[in-house]
Symmetry: none
Subunit: 199 residues, 4 copies
C-alpha cells in the first residue's frame, strides 16, 4: 500500500500532519492508530518505527501546534509596533488558523481538560501560558507607547483578549459553521478595542 519508503523525518511529519487532520475532523479522543496509519498510507505497525507509541504522536502534534502559534505571534510583532494593530492582526490570523488547523482548539479543549494524559495536558498548558504571556507583553508595550489605557490591568486585558478566541471557536464548531464567526469576532473586537484604547 505504501507508495514508497520514506525517510523517517518525512514520515514523522506526515504522521503528525495526519494526526492534526484527524484531530480536527473527529477530536483527539477518536483518533485510532489504524485510522492514522490509513491516512498516511501505511500499515498500523509501521507507525511504530517512527514513534514509540500513540501518545508520542499526539504530543508531537501538540508541539507542532505550539510552534505554529508561536510563529504567528512573532510575525505579528515584527509586522508592526502598534499594539492595537498587532492585536488586530493576531486575532485575524488566529481566526484563520482556527479554520485551517482546527486541531488546535480541539487539543486545547478536549485534551487540556481530559485527565489521564498529564504530559499532554502539561504541554498544552505550557503553550497557553506562553501565548497569554506574549499577549500580555503586547498590552504592556501598548500601554507604554500610550496606545492602550494604562489604568487597566495588562494581564486581565490579555486574558480577555484571548478569551474571544475560544468563545468564537466554540460557537463555530457547535453551529457546524453556520454561525458567522468572523463577523462576530470583528464586532466583539471593535467593542474591545474601543474599550481599551487610550483616550
Amino acid at each position: 500500500m505504501a507508495l514508497e519508503k520514506l525517510d523517517t523525518g518525512i514520515r514523522r511529519e506526515q504522521i503528525v500532519e495526519a494526526a492534526l487532520g484527524l484531530i480536527a475532523a473527529h477530536g483527539v479522543g477518536r483518533i485510532s492508530v489504524a485510522a492514522l496509519a490509513r491516512r498516511v498510507g501505511i500499515v498500523p505497525s509501521a507507525l511504530y518505527r517512527h514513534f514509540k507509541n500513540k501518545e508520542e504522536i499526539l504530543q508531537a502534534a501538540v508541539q507542532l501546534v505550539r510552534r505554529r502559534v508561536g510563529e504567528n505571534l512573532k510575525e505579528v510583532c515584527e509586522a508592526t509596533p502598534n499594539a492595537l494593530e498587532r492585536l488586530d492582526q493576531l486575532l485575524r490570523r488566529v481566526m484563520k488558523m482556527v479554520r485551517e488547523l482546527q486541531a488546535m482548539p480541539r487539543i486545547v479543549f478536549s485534551e487540556g481538560m481530559s485527565s489521564g494524559h498529564p504530559e499532554r495536558k502539561a504541554q498544552a498548558y505550557a503553550m497557553l501560558k506562553e501565548i497569554l504571556g506574549e499577549i500580555e507583553n503586547i498590552m504592556r508595550q501598548g500601554q507604554a507607547r500610550g496606545e492602550i489605557r494604562s489604568d487597566l490591568d495588562a494581564r486581565a486585558l490579555a486574558v480577555m483578549f484571548w478569551g474571544m478566541v475560544p468563545a468564537a471557536v466554540i460557537l463555530w464548531h457547535m453551529s457546524d459553521g453556520r454561525f458567522d464567526v468572523t463577523r462576530q469576532a470583528e464586532r466583539t473586537w471593535e467593542l474591545y478595542k474601543e474599550g481599551i484604547r487610550a483616550r
Copy 2:
C-alpha cells in the same frame, strides 16, 4: 448490590446524576457504562432497562444541564431588574456552577465539538443559543433602561459576556485549579462592565 428495584423514573434520575458526576470527574469521552453502573450501584446491563443506550444517557445529561442553566438565568432575572446587576449575579452563579457542575463545560467543550454524535451536538448547541438569547435580552433591556450603552450591539455584547466563561473554565481546568479563576473573572468583569456602562 442493588438494594432494591426502583421505579424507572427514579433510576433514570440516578443514572443521569451519576453520569454528570463522571463527566465532571473524567470527561465525557472517558465515561464507560461499567463505571456508570458501578456508581449507580447496579450492573451495567441493568442500565439498558432505563435507557436505550449510552448515547441516550449522555443526551439526558445534556438536557439536565440545560435545564439547570435555564433555571439560573430565570432566577437571576427575577432577583433584580438592573441589567448590570443581573449580569454580575449571573457571572457569579455560572462561575460557581462551573466548579460544582464541571460537567457542563466538559460537555460543551469536548462533546459539542466532537462529530459522530450529531444529536448531542445539536442539543448542546440549542442550549447555547438559548443562553446567548437570554443574555442578549438582558442586554437589550439594560439598554432600554439606560443602564447599558445603546451604541453597542446587544448580540456582540452577549457573546462577549458569555465568552468570559469558557475562557475562565479552560484556564481553570488546564491549570488544574492553580489558576485563580474567580479573581481573574472579577477583573475581567470589571473591565467589561466599565466598558459597557452607559455614560
Copy 3:
C-alpha cells in the same frame, strides 16, 4: 458458539483445566488467550469475566497443580506408615501424574526459570519447597522408624529422591515418549532404595 451460559465457578474450572491442557501440549509460553478460549468454547473476551487477565489464569493453573500434588502426598502418607513404601507409592503416583498432567513439569521447568513473571515463579518455587519439605519429613520419619539409614542427611535424600522426577520427565518429553520412563524410574528407584535402606 458457547453452548450455554455457565456459572463462573464452573467456567473458572473449565478455563484452568483447558489452560493445563494447553500447557501440557504446547508449553506455558505458547498459550494464547485465543487458543484458550477456543478450547473452552467461548470467545476470547469472555475469559475476562472470569479472570482479570491471562496471568491470573496461569497462576490459577499453578495453584491447581500445587493442590493436586499436595493431595497426592497426603494420600500416600495416609496409606502406609512405612517410609520406603510411601516413597515407592509417591514415585509411582507422580510418574503417573506426569503423564496425565504434563502441565506440571512444564510449569516447573519453563516458568520456574523464565524471568519476567515473578509471581508465577514464586508460586512454583513455593510449591517445590513444600514438596521437598514433605519428602524430607517422610525421610526423617523413616529414619526414626529404623527403615532408612540414619547416617544420611534427610534433606539431601529428599532432593535426590525428588530429582528422579525431573530427570525422568525430561527424558520422556525429549524422546517424545520413546524413552521408557517407567522402567527407567523403577530401576533408578531400586538403586536408590537399596542405597538408603537401613541395614
Copy 4:
C-alpha cells in the same frame, strides 16, 4: 552502528554467542531478533544475511552447547582413568558450566519440551543421548576396573547420575540463586558415590 562488515563466518559465531548470552539471561522463549541484533551490534534485518531465520540461529546455539559439553566429557576422561574421579570432575564441571553457560539448561528444559520446533528438539535430544551414552561408558569402565559395583545397571546409574544436574539446576533457578546448589550437589554426590562404590 556496525563497526565493519565482517565475514559471515565470524558474524555467525558472534550471533550464536550473543544468542547463548540472551538465552542464559532470559530464556529461549524470550529471545527476540531485535534484542539479538542489538547485542551483536547490527540491525535486525542484517541477521538474515547470515541465517535463514531465527530458528536456524537457535539451532546453531544448541549445536554449540552440544559441542562444548562434548569437549568437557572428553577432557574429563583424558584427565583420569578412575571412574569415580571422572564422575566427580564431571559433576563439578557441569555445575560450573551451569552457572557460566546457563543457556544449556534453559535450552534443554524449556525448548527440549516445547513442541512446535521438532528440529531443535531432535537436536537437543541427540545431545542428551550422547551425554548419557558417555556417562554410561564411564560407568561400564568403572565396573570393569572394579571401582563401581557390578551388580548395578550401568544405564540406570548413568541416568541417575545425570539426573542430579537438572534437579540442581531447577532448584537453583527457581530459588533465584538462594538455594545453595553446590553444597547440595556435593552432598547428593557423596550419597550417590557411596552407593555405587564397589565394596
